[in-house]
Subunit: 137 residues, 2 copies
């Protein structure tokens, strides 16, 4: 039983085959799959799984904070495991999503929230950019 599965079980979720399949897919995903993506990958493992189950499972995982739901202005959501905290740079030309982390940024966000009288619970930063062509090294 994986750590992820343990955390689900601890939250009172029954570990069904479908849920194991979806957790496996999320654990192996190097990208930020949409619901349709997760569904397609799940079907290659369990051909009988339904998209309703994928929606329900991802919502549950989101509530448990095991997963992060993104809205990259595409008309649908994308998901990823909530493992290591990071942010995203979206390539406006190719749609490619690049992950990054930055300690200073984290500290700064905490401070901004505190100065406004808030305890920071969650936050999102998305950068949208274009690749610089002429590499001025």
């Amino acid at each position: 039983m994986t750590e992820l599965e343990q955390r689900c079980a601890k939250a009172g979720l029954k570990m069904t085959g479908q849920r194991r399949t979806i957790l496996k897919i999320l654990g192996e995903a190097a990208d930020h799959p949409s619901v349709e993506d997760v569904y397609a990958r799940a079907k290659s493992i369990d051909t009988t799984i339904s998209i309703a189950t994928v929606y329900r499972t991802l919502s549950l995982l989101d509530e448990l904070d095991l997963v992060i739901r993104h809205e990259f202005h595409e008309g649908h959501s994308r998901y990823e495991l909530n493992w290591d905290h990071h942010h995203h740079l979206i390539d406006l030309e190719s749609g490619q999503v690049i992950e990054f982390q930055n300690k200073e940024l984290e500290a700064m966000k905490e401070k901004i929230a505190r100065d406004l009288g808030y305890e920071l619970v969650d936050h999102r930063l998305e950068l949208y950019g274009k690749k610089i062509k002429g590499k001025k090294k």
Copy 2:
């Protein structure tokens, strides 16, 4: 003719009554209205306006970058004029949206993008927090 209307006209948009109404509403909005909000307010000025026109106009304004479209994970979009650049802190308990700016943050984001080999075109930062009750002054 307002500056906003001039910028629309310059982009080749015809200045119809409906568009003027919507621009007026956005200019006067102190919040971040949803499409339904804009539609409701528009109707109080022009009872014959349709929600299709509101959708179409907001999309156009978004393309022209006169407006910013937000997805605060509510299942619908919210809009605001793209005047002064700022970010948002969303109160998780009340849903209240607080705006803030931060120079250091801006500089840092430019740097992160550049270091990744990207020219920053746009970006979003959203903080989600809870009000700190015991004001430890």
